[in-house]
Structures are given as structure tokens and as C-alpha cells.
Amino acid sequence: MIKIKVENKEGEVQIIEIPEGINLNLMETLKAYEYNLRATCGGMALCSDCHCHVYEGWETLPEAQEQELITLDTRPDATSFSRLACQIKISSEIDGLSIKLMGEGD
């Protein structure tokens, strides 16, 4: 199981356990675990609804591509540890990741 620590916008923290081999990105996974993410663009790195701050495990993430960086530039609350969850594939590499959700919900 891959464990990810998630803090929602209300500050509640939970560790979610995700089976290996699940063919989803982190945004889709969070939605499947019933986190309130609107995900307007559906995962194209265009809307930033799945913006998150990464507290731990930053170094395990693949480098952000140009579109993700462009979209993050539209977030007033972006920091140098910001990512879009839709651009992070679930894999054993990100086991132990700790994030806080920053984007819009429904």
C-alpha cells in the first residue's frame, strides 16, 4: 500500500492508503477517496483546482512540466512547494508524501 498524508482545507489530516498498481493520478485518487476537489479541467493542468502544497516527499515527485508551471503562476497562494495533484501519478515512489489541499472544491 502507498500511504499519503492529506490535510484538507479545513485542516483535518488523514493518511490514505492506496493499493499499488492503481492507474490514477493523485487528483483522481483524492476524488475517489471523496475529497472535495472540483477539478474543472479534469486533469489537464489547466485549472489549478487540485493545487496542493507539498510538505514532505517533494524530492520523490517528477519535475513539473511547462503547462503545470504556467497554471501554478495563476495561483496567488502558490509557493515554491506547490504542485497540481493531477500531474502526479500514483506509484510506490511517492509513498510517504504529505500534502495540503489548496484548490477549490464544489
Binding site: L46, D49, D73, R75, P76
Partner: protein, 336 residues
Amino acid sequence: MEHIKTDICIIGAGPVGLFAVFEAGLLKMRCHLIDVLPQVGGQLSEIYPQKPIYDIPGFPVINAQDLVNGLMDQIATFKPGFSLGERVDHLERIEDGTFIIRTNENTEVHSKAVVIAGGLGCFEPRKPAIEGLEEFEGKGVSYMVRNPELYRDKRLVLSGGGDSALDWTIFLSEVASEVTLVHRGDTFRGAPDSAEKVFELANRGKINLVLQSHITEIHGNGHLKGVTIQGKNNDVSTIETDYLIPLFGLTPKLGPIADWGLNVDKSAIEVNTLDYSTNIEGIFAIGDINTYPGKLKLILCGFHEAALMAQSAFKFVYPDQKLSFKYTTVYGVNTF
């Protein structure tokens, strides 16, 4: 004030709102569309115009903007009216069962039925989380540049790192007495020419470029007087300014729709899947804005919803007529 009389007022000119014009037109119902965005197409044009879509029947792949253009061609024959760049602020069902819809630009539409095809709501400027920011809206803080002359010979702070922040910084450097651009990064990912120009303006001392920083506080007394900026190393400085323009793009919000007495669940309007009618007689909701058991936010589902809605809206537009279902293959598409 502009007065418009129509059969159906469609709020939202995204793909589903546009296709609703076609389905209504087949039943001889005229439509007027209102959208807060300055162009038709909704999310497709605003968020992902160049992205391919693979699940439109009959099109193995179609570019989002091409789909919007195709829909506009398809409905042209029904001569819909458009009020673009306007937000519906007021919706009222009057005594005779018809509706008065009023926008923030004072356009008034009188219709026999209303179709809300508002996607995820109104696109509104994304606001930075700065305490007291909203108190200064219209008093030095604005999220778009409507009239550049307002800033002539004034001191101005812009924040953001996208194309819009770059373009307005360049333009307003020729208008304002002092322009400061605050950006959280140290590079810009907007158009390379614009980014280059901004750095050049900073090198020439025409603008102040404050990188790796963000605005944490705003100050004033009735009108904006200054902003506090925090840098990467937590160093803090305050600069005096007459205006602050945060430019962080648009994000959809349900907006005034929430105040119209409709049953809403998590920012979506509850509908009856028989005809996508809402709890208010004569008001329908189709596309991403509605919710029902099994709802899928897909364009093709919205198209289906538009077809069923039109059959039911007919009785509000032509209460004395019987509706007979007709195929376009038999009768074609007859214009008004």
C-alpha cells in the same frame, strides 16, 4: 437599459447552452443567451481551446474550439441573440408565469422559459487571500483593467505572473507614474516576448520588478494607500500605491444562481431527469450545472439533456399547441 423579448433565455453560452438553441429552434422556439465571458464556448474557449476532445459522437477527435465553432455554425440558422460579458444578477418569475432576467449591464430579458446552462457557474477573478482585500474593491483594488486612463499619472501595483500581468504591466508603464509588478517566481512563463520586455523595462528603471515575493497586507483609510510585500527570505517592505491590480486569472463560482430559490446541492442545481426541470416551474438546468443520481459531467450528456429539456419547455412557449415529435432527416431544419 436594453429590453429583449424571447421564448427561452439561456444562461450560459458553453457547448450545452449553444446546443440548446438548436433543440429549441427545431421546435420553433427563439433563444437569447447570456454569458459572463466575453466570448461563447464556456470552459472550452476559456480554459482549453486547443485541447482535443475524444468523446463527441461522430468525431473521433475534435479540438475544443472547433467544436464551439461547429455549434455556432449549427445554430446560426435559428438566429439566437447574445449578451456576452454580462452576468445575470436578477431572475424573477412574474405573475403570468413568464420571467424577467436582468444583467449587471442592465440588459433585461423577458422570456417564457429559462434554461440555466451555466457550467460550473460564473467565471470570476481569482482573489489572493489578503485580509481586508474586499473592503478596498472599487477603492483602489480591482481585478481587471477596464479603463487604463483611470491609472494615468497614478502609482500602481500589479501582482501575478501570467500573460495578463505581463501585458498590463507593459501597457500601463506608459500610462501610470509608477508601476510595480510583484511575482512569486523569478521567471515568467507567459509569452517570451512579453517577459523579455518586462525585464527590459525593469532594467531601464521604467517599472519596479519585485520577484520571489507576494503581497501580505494592504493598507488604507477609505481608499488604498499601500501594500506590504514579503520576499523569499521573509524580508518585509511596504510601498505606497494608489491602486492594486491582482491578476490571477478566472475561476468559476456559482455566484448569483445560489440566490434564486433553486434547490442546490454542492454548487449544482437539482433537477428532475424527466426533462431537467428544476423546482421552479419554467426553469430548467442542463449540463455541468445540474445534478441528479448518476450524473456525468460530459458534454454529450449535456446535449441529451438539452434535447429533453426542449420538449418540455415547449409547453411554456406554446401552451395552446400540441407537440409532435419530428426527425430532422424527414423535415430538415427549418429556420424562423
